[in-house]
Amino acid sequence: MTETVIHVQGLVKDHLSNFLRKRFRALDGLNLTVRKGETYGLLGPNGAGKTTTQKLLLGLLKPTGGTVQVLGYQPGDTRALARIGFLPENPYFYAYLTAYEFLDFFGRLFNLCAAKRKERIAELLKLVSLTEARDRPVRKFSKGMMQRLGVAQALLNDPDLIFLDEPNTGLDPIGRRDIRNIMLALKEQGKTIFFNSHMLPDVRDICDRVGVLHRGKLVGEGEVEAICTSGNYQDLEDYFMDLINTAEEEYRKTGGITPYHIEREGVR
């Protein structure tokens, strides 16, 4: 049996608004399993809960309910984090550092020795085509270069599990292609990749399995190959739109009232 890398059971996350402390449910009973070596794409419209899910898996947020296990540990456990790479959405990097200093800093956080850091940074700068820019301050980087540098920092520790949050956002076609090629190379190396994206053509090329989130609920999940060859859908976009439209219709029918509202607020 293939090893489970991410196991999520009944995950619930409520956010509180800043001023009135009003409760808003961002994730509602999410169940999810990602296996070793798999590339899993979490899809969904803006505000569906994709980034919240990743942050919960990484320990940046604390769950309101449910259980989460990542690489066999609680989210945020340093033993798991030592084997994880993460690229956040629209990352901001320390502008005053050069690309080399930036990667060296994160290499130190992974407790890599000086020789290993030097070797690994050279390898990664080559991988993301930034060798020429190694001594340039990050503030002079273009969006695409930033994203590639972000990918490099996510791979410093040669992670078993890689989280990528919208890695293609804001990139031109060349930048998108570069990121896609890096992801395909990682997939070939057998890395487990969990990523959020809006770019369905990229998802089609990279992912083994996708899940679709709508208003904090997982409304569909399946193998990409099966979805695209079943004959039920023209392509992944068709599958995605069908699930989202059905879920939205269902949501409107209930007037936006979910079991959560009924249980918490007594709405009938």
């Binding site: 990484l58 993460f86 990352p91 320390y94 800093f105 130190r108 956080l109 992974f110």
Partner: protein
């Protein structure tokens, strides 16, 4: 060992961030100009020009060091959250206490370098002024070996060390507030406590004078809770006058500052542990 690596990495990054900030150099420039103003003020006094230079120089270093500590310190953690670099940090195998400690030490190192540079400048101009005002019949080597090296320089160095100890407490306060408050509020809190810390003696005296038990309890509580910077200032003044300190007083001050700093950083860690990063 792993913790040492993480703390030193964060400290080094914080140090780089602060020393590469041009605002720091602007503040240091004004501090040096203010120190030089002591030369002008000294000419207005009657044979007290060196003492005025020393007093004004030390006050300038403390004030500008404090300004740097407050302005940069109160932004330390907030900036990481605001710019979302915290997502990259806390998804690496580091513990929250390592982050807080690294941030504190990085700024403490930066302030140490700044104070060292400003202190050297002060010692240099005090020495120069002493030589200028010395009896012309006495050679400069005699003034150097009889006055400057055995007395003046050690007095200034002791005062500078005590001043840095005070700034360490200010950095710890700023780091603590920056973990949960906006920079503006943190600045107000830190500056307020820094000023109040210099008035602990007055608070104690107020409590003793008052007949109300409530006032006594409140002033006594504040006296114990606030950092006792009045004590540090008093000792610094004595050091400048050439006073000698028993070893138990020196170790007592060291233990007090260490304990206060550790307590503040522990509270900051607890807050950072509980925080979520949306």
């Amino acid at each position: 060992m792993r913790s040492f690596g993480a703390v030193s990495a964060i400290a080094l990054n914080t140090f780089r961030e602060t020393v590469r900030d041009r605002v720091l150099y602007a503040i240091v420039f004004f501090a040096l100009v203010a120190t030089l103003a002591g030369l002008v003020l000294g000419t207005l006094s009657v044979e007290q020009d060196v003492r005025i230079l020393e007093d004004l120089g030390l006050f300038t270093i403390t004030a500008f060091g404090g300004i740097i500590a407050i302005f940069i310190g109160t932004n330390l953690v907030f900036k990481e959250i605001d710019r979302r670099t915290i997502f990259l940090i806390f998804t690496k195998p580091i513990k929250r206490w390592e982050f807080v400690t690294g941030k504190f030490l990085g700024l403490a190192l930066c302030i140490l370098v700044v104070c060292f540079a400003m202190g050297l400048f002060l010692i240099a101009i005090v020495c120069w002024q002493t030589l200028q005002t010395a009896d012309p019949s006495v050679s400069w080597t005699t003034t150097l070996t009889n006055t400057l090296i055995p007395s003046l320089i050690p007095r200034l160095l002791t005062s500078l060390v005590l001043m840095y100890v005070e700034l360490v407490l200010v950095i710890a306060l700023a780091t603590f507030f920056s973990t949960f408050s906006t920079p503006l509020m943190s600045m107000l809190f830190t500056f307020g406590l820094w000023i109040c810390g210099h008035m602990t003696d007055s608070l104690k005296a107020l409590g003793e004078l008052s007949t109300s038990p409530v006032v006594k309890v409140v002033t006594n509580g504040l006296y114990n809770a606030l950092p006792d910077l009045a004590l540090l200032t008093r000792i610094r003044g004595e050091a400048l006058d050439g006073g000698n300190f028993p070893i138990d007083l020196v170790s007592g001050i060291g233990a007090y500052v260490l304990l206060y700093t550790v307590l503040l950083l522990s509270f900051a860690t607890v807050i950072a542990e509980r925080r979520e990063f949306q």
